[in-house]
Structure formats: C-alpha cells, structure tokens
Amino acid sequence: MDAGSHSISSEKSRAAAPRPPLQEAGSRPYMPSLSTGSRNPSAKCYGDRFIPDRSAMDMDMAHYLLTEPRKDKENAAGVVASPSKEAYRRLLAEKLLNNRTRILAFRNKPPEPENVSFAEAASSNLQAKPAKQRRHIPQSAERTLDAPELVDDYYLNLLDWGSNNVLSIALGDTVYLWDASSGSTSELVTVDEDSGPITSVSWAPDGRHIAVGLNSSDVQLWDTSSNRLLRTLRGVHEARVGSLAWNNSILTTGSMDGKIVNNDVRIRNHVVQTYEGHSQEVCGLKWSGSGQQLASGGNDNLLHIWDVSMASSMPSAGRNQWLHRLEDHTAAVKALAWCPFQSNLLATGGGGSDRCIKFWNTHTGACLNSVDTGSQVCALLWNKNERELLSSHGFTQNQLTLWKYPSMVKMAELTGHTSRVLFMAQSPDGCTVASAAADETLRFWNVFGAPEAPKPAAKASHTGMFNSFNHIR
C-alpha cells in the first residue's frame, strides 16, 4: 500500500509541479515537489502502521505530510555536513512556505501547569491517597526500669503485659506488677525458696488473673484485684514450668519434662489434654488468635503445631497427635509469634546456633521464609498496626530489630541493652514494647507507633466478634 500511495502521490506532485503557487486560494495548497520518490528514494516512507481510514485518506496530503518531516530530518543531518546547504534549504523553504502560509501563534501563552515537581504531580495523580508518612522510630528507650535479680535463663518466660495495662515481671522469687497507666509498682507474691525461683508468668485474657509457673513444677493462679491465691495446680508436671499460654479458660503449661498440658482452670480435675511431642524443655508456647492452634517450641529444636480439633478430650486416651512437627530450626525454639493479620502465619525464632527467624503456614506446615539474623532470637512480636515484626537478640548487639514484613527489610535496630534481651511484651494498645534483658533492666520502646485513628474501633468490633465466636465454641 505504501509503495502504491507513494507512486501515485509522486506522479501527482510531478504533474502539479508546473502549477503556479496559490493557484486556488483556500483550496489545497500547492506542494513544491522538493522530494519526490524519483529524486530522493531514500526519503521514501515505509510506514508500518495500519491506517484505519482508507476511505478518508488524501494521498496527496499524506504524502506531503510524510515527506515534509523527512526533509527536516535531512536538514538536521545536513547541519553537520554543510551549513551552507542547510541555509540554502532554509531560505528556499522560507520562500516557498512564506508564499503560501503564515504561521501564527497567540501572543498570550497558556498558563504553565502548576505542578511544582512533575514527580509529585504524577504520584498524586496515581494515588489519590497521600503517601503514608514515615513513622519516626525513636532509637533509644523511652523509659528504663531496674529489674534486679532477673533470672538470666533463656528458657523462661518472666515478662507479660496484661489487657489491664499492667505489666508483670518475675524477679527471682517475686512477681511484681507495674501499672503502666499510673507507673506504680506493687508486689504480687514472693514464693518460698523451695518452690522458687519463678519460671513463668502469664496474664489471663481478662487482665485480672495471672498464672505463675514455678521451679517446683507447681502453677499458681492469682487474682490480682484482691492479691489472692486462687488455686495451685499440682502434679501436672515433673519439672519446672517455663512456659504458659492462655486460651480463654484453658491454661496451657509447658515444662522441662517435655510435656504440654491443657488445664481447664474452672474445673477440679483441671488436666484436660496432654500434648507429648517434645523430648526436652518446652520454652515457647503460644495460642493462635483464633484459639484453634497452639504452637510449641522446645529445647529439642522442634516446633510443633497442635490443633484443637485433633485433640482428644479424654486425658486418658493417650497421646495427642501434632498437626505439624517442624524440624527446621537448629537450636531451641523459644520465640513464637502468631501474625495478627494473617491467621495461619506464625513467626518463630531460633536460639544461639540457629539465629533464624522462620515464617510458617501453619495449615500446611510450609516454611514460607527464613532469615538469618546473625544472633540468638529471644523473642518476637508482631506490630498490631503495621506489617512489621520486632525481634530481640542476644550476643553480640543485644539489640531489638524491627523488620518490615514480608520483605524482611530492617527498619530499625534499637540498642541500649548491655546483655541479651530475653523477654518482650507488647502493651494492650500495641504501641509500646517492654523488653527485659539479662543486664537486669526493663526498657520501654515506642517502636510500633500510634495506631491510626479509625482502626481501633474496627479492631474492637472485630475482637468482639471473635470473642462471641469463641464463646459459642
């Protein structure tokens, strides 16, 4: 088609050549045949485009339009070759063009677009929502409290922050309560030297009751509003109880004897289920947000996922089977954290010879990601408001590291502790993190930032729904 159109138009323009300029005012302008195919074959246009309006096509005009810029191109090339030639051409073009056309532009120019920076304008065009402001992460602890006699034992769980905004910490044989709203400290209990030291503390979801695990294998239940010992769970374990986890009225205890026991604290024969899967001390124990799955980590480098629906209700029915047994960690698995925004996602951290944070799909048991942190992982916490994960570490930096999930880009490293950061707890509003380290200090970090204004309401209704859901079960 192109070749055809070309030959036609060149023929035409040759025929038109003798016509004087401005022959027909207002009609098609006269085209000087500066560049016809025969004279300048290189100027031929081999368009590769589909021209959709063949019927309305004006071959003469098209040829003119197609060849006109070609001349310009040659001019551009000619500048280098010969300025005089270029000047001649320009003169010629001026003569020819000026005879038939004036090019006019409006004197007043249109206003320039107001966008100061194009990138800015483009981004604002693309996303109606303004870019989220970067949160400032304070690099130093907001507050530091002394924690004398804090037992430097990786396998224990001595710090918890309850829904009543009261922090509990076990220092030696004593459990202290620190009210975060008022900053006041009170002593809950000092146990006998025989049964001490305390090996674990855990607030019940109601924020009123607290479970205290002891070196003697006993577990005490305290009412903090009246400072009263409610009951002692005896004979459950044969060794110290280093890990505790609540699932409504079920208190799950993990012990050095490798056993995990579900205790229904409301009934006399409180042992409801026993999970046997660990051969060594159980040091990590966490229920998922839905209360359907329990993650347990042990000194035997094992991670188990237990599912409520698989547990036999008869304690005598023998061993309960785990849903998944995950053997990827190469050191004790103590740090466990269920993702608050993705129900089947679990983050786990390994001890000194493993140093990895791993992510698991607990439905399938698939390891989703593994990141070597370079240091013992003592504790893990998810940010409730953002997709971030906080890990606490031991030698060499004794730091807290904030990771972006899922990219696992380090967002911040918080240093200050002078010995390994054994325990972490998150405030009920999710903003503040308390960390207790072997340097016998308790530090508070404003690492997770304030939640967005509309979010808490939505969250509250959500948890409300979940609560009722759980109650139905």
Binding site: S27, L65, P69, N75, A76, N99, L104, F106, N115
Partner: protein, 221 residues
C-alpha cells in the same frame, strides 16, 4: 449555527466553521450544550497529562466521556484563540491548526498535533451550500476523539513537565490582530507520525495527524 438548525442536512460556511472550531475547542459563549461535545484540545491536554488530572471535569455526552478543563487560564487561552480561528475558518484562510507540546524545561518540541484544514474554495467564493447530515459529521468527529484517547497506547511517555502552544497556519493575506505573532513551525526533528481519522463537513475537511519525538531506544532498529 442557526442556519444548521433550519435543516439538519444543509451546511453553510459559517456552520462548517463553527463545527471545526468546536472540534478544536469552542470559543466561549457559543451554544453551551454543543460546546461540550468536542474539545480535541482539552482531550489532548488531559490524555497527555500536560495539566493535572484534577483540573479536568468529566462530562458524559453522546456516548463519550468529555473532558473539560477547569483551569481558567487554559480556558481563556483556548477560547480567545478559537474565536479568532473560527473567523479565519469562515474566510477560508486557515490551513492548519497545530497543538504543540513542549518540554517545560528545555522548550524542546515533543509532540505536534496537526489538524490540517482544506476549505472548499467554491463555497468561500460563491457562497455555495453543501449537504451533509449533522449526525454523520458528529460520527466522524467522535471517531477522531476516540483515536486521540487511544493514542496514549503508542505515544511515548511524557515524563517531564510540559507546556503547550497552538499554531495557526493561515494564508499570507490574513489580517492578524495584534494578539497574534509570527512563529516558527516548531517542528520535531526526525519524528514518528500517525495519521488519525478525518472528518469532512463538505466545506472544511480536517485531517488529524500526530507527530512525536521518536524514542531514542528505537534508533537502532
């Protein structure tokens, strides 16, 4: 326009000039409803993001989404420009309207939107009247508007702030008011060209063509 309303199929030079100037960007104050129908200039400025998206309003008309600039400066510019253009169109002295998009920083011409106008000499000289249905012309114009809208698929990205200007190619004997100045053609060296649809009022035939700066990446091919 009054003459056109008398009978839909009869077109005078005046009516034709009105259609063409409407197509490009109507002078302020002319029939409200119809003016919204075509505004090739607005469409181009929107599609090529010369002005921010927020400065346009969308109006749904004749099965097409029309985009009208709300920028007072641009509005005034286009309106005062078009009123002069329609005058020249009526005299049959306008050969071409070119909307040029230039880099704001370097003033380099990046795109030229050519609207070539061929006026039927007989009509201008003898005042002849042609027949073509309004509907048919509108259909042709809408086809062009759609093509302009779809141009972004192959036009290179304008990734810098841009400004635009409008050039009018007229006969040499026109009376240019003081508001107009002579300009160079603002050509693009080594351009790519794409011809779009045409429309014909039987008096004015308008060919649309966009030429743009070739991407450097294509040079080797």
């Amino acid at each position: 326009m009054a003459s056109r309303t008398a009978s839909k199929d009869i077109i005078t030079l005046r009516g034709s000039a009105a259609i063409v100037s409407e197509f490009f960007g109507t002078a302020r104050g002319q029939g409200g409803e119809r003016t919204a129908a075509h505004r090739a200039s607005d469409r181009i400025l929107y599609n090529r993001a010369v002005y921010p998206e927020e400065s346009f309003t969308k109006v749904k008309k004749y099965g097409l989404t029309m985009l009208l600039t709300q920028d007072e400066g641009v509005k005034t510019f286009i309106a005062s420009l078009t009123s002069q253009l329609s005058e020249w169109l009526e005299a049959g002295k306008l050969q071409r309207i070119v909307l040029v998009i230039m880099s704001k920083a370097t003033n380099e011409v990046l795109e030229r939107w050519n609207f070539n106008i061929v006026t039927d000499a007989e009509v201008v000289e003898k005042g002849a009247i042609k027949e073509k249905s309004d509907k048919e012309i509108m259909r042709e114009i809408q086809a062009i508007m759609r093509q302009i809208a779809s141009c972004i698929t192959y036009l290179p990205c304008l990734d810098e702030p841009c400004v635009f200007d409008v050039l009018a190619y007229t006969d040499t004997d026109v009376d240019a008011p003081g508001t107009w100045v002579e300009s160079d053609a603002k050509l693009i060296s080594n351009p790519q060209m794409v011809k779009l649809h045409s429309f014909d009022t039987k008096i004015h035939k308008v060919d649309t063509l966009v030429s743009y700066k070739k991407d450097d990446w294509d040079e080797e091919e």
